[in-house]
Symmetry: C2
């Protein structure tokens, strides 16, 4: 199988030769023309997009429009509104989650990390629904699952045991949520979630919306526990708005601590919240990666699961303008996210998986800025989607 006339991310023009689901060669163009050629017409090929933060159980995608019902703008208001939306659901999360997985695959995402709500009202129901989705799409996409205490850990008694049970039943990581802002107990919250992670031998991905110095203190505590537990490279903090709400010198000092501890930072390019200083974090050695966050759910009416659209949003919010900066946004939704997810078999290389996205753009920078048409999404040498629509 030969995908002819590709432009590689480095700008070189090659044919991609696939065999047995893997990349056999990047051949000079025009070397041969077997009958099963696919002509990419000069399209840019990228490795599969990676969504480092999605909520497959929350989305209402595919249902008629559901207006946002939160009474106010606090995280607690939205948690409350989500309970109402959840109670009114007639379609299970496994169906709406599958709608979203189909859409993200059609847009070129083949690997994702989904947080799944767990609390003492829900129990493990959402987990079970999303494990069904993971199973259903196993051949097409990697779905990592984070056991996410959406209602807090301490303020929702019984959640700690549920998180532990979730990992036992198949969740890949333990989550957390604003230890101070939601649970009001930094050490108590972290003690529980790090305890489960250590006991079960898994990583953590912690939602942190808390801003200012309180948020910084939480980041430092997470870094300290990561080091103590020997979990370097297996812990991420999602959002970390605090890093964008303090002096750059404080952000830089915190970055050094995060880098030393091996804690990664996820940003989705928030709309109204403060943006972590991505370039500064990278300069200090912190792994930063991207994710969609909410998509058409009780939290947000926005989002579409398109990780080039998301890279654009991240770049726009981060004031990226130069090609080199746009490449950072691209890395955040490809290689950097792949490293955080621990994907061993990822990337465009001879011998690597014949997985790629072909887009109508001349360069990586142009792909981020313009969010072009996905001509093809290819997995193991097989075309999964064409022009943004799944095939077969």
């Amino acid at each position: 199988m030969r995908f002819a006339n590709a432009t590689l991310p480095d700008g070189s023009k090659r044919d991609v030769v696939a065999a047995d689901g893997r990349i056999a060669a990047f051949a000079a163009q025009g070397d041969s023309a077997p009958s099963d050629d696919v002509d990419l017409g000069g399209a840019l090929i990228l490795p599969p997009l990676v969504d480092g933060h999605i909520h497959l159980d929350k989305t209402l995608l595919g249902l008629p429009w559901v207006p946002n019902q939160a009474a106010g703008n606090r995280v607690a208001d939205r948690i409350e509104a989500e309970r109402k939306v959840r109670a009114a659901r007639t379609v299970p999360e496994s169906e709406t989650g599958a709608n979203l997985v189909r859409q993200v695959i059609a847009n070129g995402t083949l690997h994702m990390r989904s947080h799944v709500d767990i609390d003492n009202q829900l129990g493990l129901r959402n987990l079970h629904e999303i494990l069904k989705v993971r199973e259903r799409f196993r051949a097409l996409a990697t779905i990592q699952v984070v056991a996410f205490p959406q209602s807090g850990v301490l303020r929702s008694p019984g959640t700690a045991d549920l998180l532990d049970a979730a990992v036992a039943e198949g969740a890949d990581l333990v989550g957390g949520l604003d230890p101070v802002g939601i649970d009001g107990d930094l050490d108590g919250h972290l003690e529980v979630i790090f305890g489960i992670a250590e006991k079960r031998g898994v990583g953590l991905d912690i939602h942190l919306h808390d801003g200012g110095e309180a948020g910084i203190a939480e980041l430092l505590a997470i870094a300290a526990r990561t080091k103590a537990a020997g979990l370097a490279g297996k812990v991420a903090v999602s959002h970390a708005f605090a890093l964008g709400s303090v002096a750059l010198s404080t952000a830089a000092e915190t970055a050094d601590v995060l880098a030393d501890a091996g804690v990664a930072i996820m940003s989705h390019g928030p709309g109204a919240a403060t943006m972590p200083p991505l370039l500064l974090l990278r300069q200090h050695g912190v792994e930063v990666f991207g994710g969609s966050d909410n998509i058409r759910d009780a939290w947000s009416p926005f989002g579409n699961g398109d990780m080039l659209d998301r890279a654009m949003m991240i770049g726009y919010r981060a004031n990226f303008r130069h090609d080199q900066e746009l490449s950072v946004a691209y890395e955040m939704v490809t290689s950097a996210a792949a490293r955080v997810l621990g994907l061993a078999d990822y990337g465009l290389r001879v011998g690597g998986p014949a997985d790629f996205v072909a887009v109508t753009a001349g360069s990586v920078a142009e792909a981020v800025a313009t969010r072009p048409r996905r001509q093809l999404v290819v997995k193991a040498g097989r075309v999964l989607a064409r022009d943004g629509v799944l095939v077969g």
Copy 2:
């Protein structure tokens, strides 16, 4: 001509009957079925989108990708970088501007206000190029032109006379740019541009990036001069980041002054700059409207001229989530912008122009959040574009 099976912005289901380029009736569905029916299939129809702030002369749309070359992140760095890009151009602004007008029309924008650079190096060259574009598309779209002193007025000697000449040659409004940040002379700058506006009997649209209390002082000075000159309703300030960088009480007091003077505020939903508090401004009676700002030019790699995409960005940055809030973003790119542009013949009503955009959405809120496919763009009862592509 009957456009059957439309959903109106208020949710009602109607057929749109057009005659002689105007809306003859919103008829009950199924009343008749003449052979020239167009079936909208339930699509939502919106009045034409209005772009309140575009730079037709700056765009490089349609050319091969041009990396951003600014040496730094100051406005002055970008002005300097733009001079280099301009010097290296081989395609005239009338061509790239036309590329952009075609794209915005295909996305449903039929009215726009374009700033056009004028300084003592450029003279009126860009104005002449964009007046050609206005003439070329006269039958399809309204293009208002602002004579924009991109290099300042006082620091670019001779610009004052050029602005005056620009209005004499066809520019519709006089522009301005950071009287303090660029020219370092608030009264001197305003004296010149208000002087031309009064002499020529035109309005003003002033770029204001200056933040903090300095920016607020500039807004108050603009409001005072607007009142003194009797220009209420004919003056707009674009960006006004300052309103988002001061205490809400200061923003509210400033809003009262702006509303009283009849000064409108344009926001494009900036990426990294502070966002004016849109709802507060509206509550205090200020007209707020939307625009694209830079699109693939020396200033920004981003942008596509799609005003639903822009409404989404404005809503995302403003933390809009409820349907009522999303409707504000919609108004900013339709009726509010139409009022600011002084469009007398605008809006979906019997007797009004048979101009509309049909989109695949069930409601205005959904249209803003999802930026759906443009099924049809119709002007005077004639289909201009289908599925985002111009016809004929």
